[in-house]
C-alpha cells in the first residue's frame, strides 16, 4: 500500500535512495550539498539502510570514490548541486566512459559568478553531454519516481551508464508537497538485486579498469558508447511500463499536455511546466489551442520521437532556464530545433531565457509567451528569435 506524505523533494528522493539500498554512497557533506544527503546520512546512522557512507573532501573526490566503488562491484549513489556538479565534471566522463551505473540526484541550481544558490538549470546543462542519462522531474513525486526508475535504467545489462535525476533547487528540493511513497519491499522488488559486471573485487577473475587507449582504439570505444545511448530510450519506456503497474503513475520519454490538437506550444523542463499547464488551461478555455511538451529523458535526447510530437504545431516557444554564452540559444532550444530539422513542415520556433538564479517564473510570463505565439502563428513573422523574460530592461 502506498503511503501519502507531505515532504520536501529532498526528503522524498532521500527515501527513494534508502529504498534502493545502495552499497556505497560517497558524498561531499558541505554546501552546495543539500538536505537530501543529510536525510540519507540519518538513515545510515539510524541503521535504516546498510549503505557505507563515505564523506570526502570535495565533489571531485566524491565522484572519484563512486567510480572506484562502482568498479569494485557495488550499487553506488551520490548527490550534488550547482558548483558541486561543476567540480565533478572531469570524473563524470570517467564514470560514463567506464560504463559505471552510478545514480546521482542533482538539485538544479545556478553556477557562479555572480554567486547564487537558487534554482537554475546551468549546472546539469553543463554536464548534458558527459555521457550520463538525465531524467528531469517536475515535482517531488516525479523526482522520487525517477530516482527509483533510474536504478533499473542505469543498471540494465544492455545499458550500464550512470544516471542523473534532475529537480529544481528550492522550488522542488525545499518545498513541501503531497506525494505517495511506495512500500519498501515493493521498491526493493522493483529495483532488484544489483547485478555485477566485471567487478574488481572478484579476485577469481582479475580485471583492469581505466587502461590507456591510444589512437588505434579510442574512436572504437567512443563509437560503442554512442551505440549504447541509442538503446536507452526503449529501456526507459520498458521500465516506465513496469513502474506504472506498481504505482499507477505513467511516464514516457516526455510528457505532452493538451498537445495533440494544439497549434501553439511551449517546451519547458521541470517545475515551470506545472505553472505553464495552468496558463495553457486558461488559453484553452478561451478557445486557443495551446499545448505543452515537457522533456523527461533529456539525455540521451529522443530526437525522432520529439520531432514527431511537435512537428504539427504552427508556432513553438522553447523556454530555457540556462543560457549558452556565445552559443546564441538556450540548450533545450538547440535540441528541439535539431529534432525538427528533418521536417519540411515545422513550427516557427522562438527561444526565451527565463528564471535564471531563482528568478520567479510566473503565470504572467507564460501568458506573455503564449500571446506572442498566437501572433507568430497568425502573422508568420517573428520579432526576435531569442529573448529574456522577467528581466529588467
Amino acid at each position: 500500500m502506498a503511503k501519502v506524505v507531505a515532504v520536501t523533494g529532498n526528503e522524498a528522493v532521500a527515501n527513494a535512495l534508502r529504498q534502493a539500498n545502495p552499497d556505497v554512497c560517497a558524498v561531499y557533506p558541505i554546501t552546495p550539498q543539500t538536505e537530501m544527503m543529510q536525510r540519507f546520512s540519518s538513515f545510515v546512522s539510524d541503521g535504516k539502510v546498510k549503505t557505507e557512507l563515505i564523506l570526502v573532501e570535495s565533489e571531485h573526490s566524491a565522484m572519484s570514490s563512486c567510480v572506484g566503488a562502482s568498479a569494485a562491484g557495488g550499487r553506488v549513489i551520490t548527490a550534488t548541486s550547482s558548483q558541486g556538479l561543476a567540480l565533478m565534471w572531469e570524473i563524470l566522463f570517467i564514470a560514463s566512459g567506464t560504463r559505471l551505473p552510478i545514480v546521482m540526484p542533482v538539485v538544479n541550481r545556478a553556477l557562479s559568478a555572480p554567486l547564487n544558490i537558487h534554482g537554475d538549470h546551468s549546472d546539469a546543462m553543463g554536464a548534458r553531454d558527459a555521457g550520463w542519462i538525465q531524467l528531469w522531474s517536475e515535482n517531488g513525486q516525479e523526482a522520487y519516481d525517477n530516482t527509483i526508475q533510474a536504478f533499473r535504467i542505469a543498471e540494465h545489462m544492455d545499458i550500464r551508464l550512470p544516471a542523473m535525476i534532475c529537480m529544481d533547487g528550492f522550488i522542488i528540493s525545499h518545498s513541501i508537497e503531497r506525494l505517495e511513497y511506495l512500500d519498501d519491499q515493493d521498491v526493493q522488488a522493483f529495483v532488484g538485486e544489483f547485478k555485477q559486471l566485471n567487478p574488481l573485487l572478484d579476485i577469481e577473475h582479475p580485471v583492469s579498469y581505466g587502461p590507456l587507449i591510444l589512437p588505434d582504439y579510442y574512436m572504437e570505444y567512443r563509437r560503442a558508447q554512442a551505440e549504447v545511448a541509442t538503446k536507452v530510450a526503449q529501456v526507459v519506456l520498458d521500465v516506465a511500463e513496469d513502474f506504472a503497474r506498481l504505482s499507477g503513475r505513467k511516464y514516457g520519454l516526455f510528457e505532452t499536455y493538451r498537445l495533440d490538437d494544439a497549434e501553439i506550444g511551449l517546451v519547458i523542463l521541470n517545475s515551470a511546466a506545472g505553472t505553464s499547464k495552468d496558463v495553457i488551461d486558461e488559453f484553452r478555455d478561451r478557445g486557443i489551442k495551446a499545448g505543452l511538451f515537457k522533456p523527461r529523458l533529456y539525455r540521451p535526447f529522443p530526437y525522432e520521437e520529439t520531432g514527431e510530437a511537435l512537428k504539427h504545431l504552427k508556432a513553438l516557444c522553447v523556454l530555457d532556464r540556462a543560457d549558452c554564452f556565445g552559443g546564441s540559444f538556450g540548450p533545450v532550444f538547440v535540441d528541439i530545433t535539431t529534432s525538427l530539422y528533418p521536417y519540411r513542415e515545422k513550427p516557427i520556433l522562438i527561444n526565451k531565457i527565463y528564471g535564471l538564479g531563482g528568478r520567479d517564473y510566473l503565470p504572467g510570463h507564460a501568458e506573455l509567451v503564449l500571446n506572442e505565439l498566437v501572433d507568430v502563428a497568425q502573422t508568420g513573422t517573428v520579432r526576435n528569435y531569442k529573448e529574456y523574460i522577467g528581466v529588467r530592461e
Partner: protein, 97 residues
C-alpha cells in the same frame, strides 16, 4: 594482429584477460640496445633485479640473453652491471648501428 571493430570492444574498456601485457611488445620503443658480453659476466643477477620490464631471462639460476621483445632500452642494467675487473658485461649500443 587484426584490429577489432567498435562492435567487438569490451564495455568501458575493461580488460578481462589478466596478464595480457605479454601481447603488447614494447621492444620497438628502444633507441639504445643493451648487449650482453658473457665473458665479463660474474652472474650477480643485478641486471635481473633492476630491470623494470622483466626483459632479462634467467635459466637454471644463470643469466641468459635479453628478451628484446620487451626491453625498452632504459639502460638501467648497463648502469648497475659491476662487470669483471673493470670491464662491463652489459654495454649500450645505438639501434640501427
Amino acid at each position: 594482429m587484426k584490429l577489432k571493430s567498435w562492435k567487438e570492444v569490451n564495455p568501458g574498456a575493461v580488460i578481462t584477460d589478466a596478464g595480457n601485457s605479454r601481447e603488447f611488445k614494447t621492444g620497438s620503443w628502444r633507441s639504445f640496445k643493451p648487449v650482453w658480453i658473457e665473458e665479463n659476466c660474474i652472474q650477480c643477477l643485478f641486471c635481473w633485479i633492476y630491470c623494470p620490464d622483466m626483459a632479462i631471462k634467467v635459466k637454471d639460476g644463470k643469466r641468459a640473453d635479453f628478451d628484446y621483445d620487451f626491453c625498452k632500452g632504459c639502460g638501467l642494467c648497463a648502469l648497475e652491471c659491476p662487470g669483471k675487473k673493470g670491464k662491463k658485461a652489459i654495454i649500450m649500443v645505438e639501434e640501427g648501428k
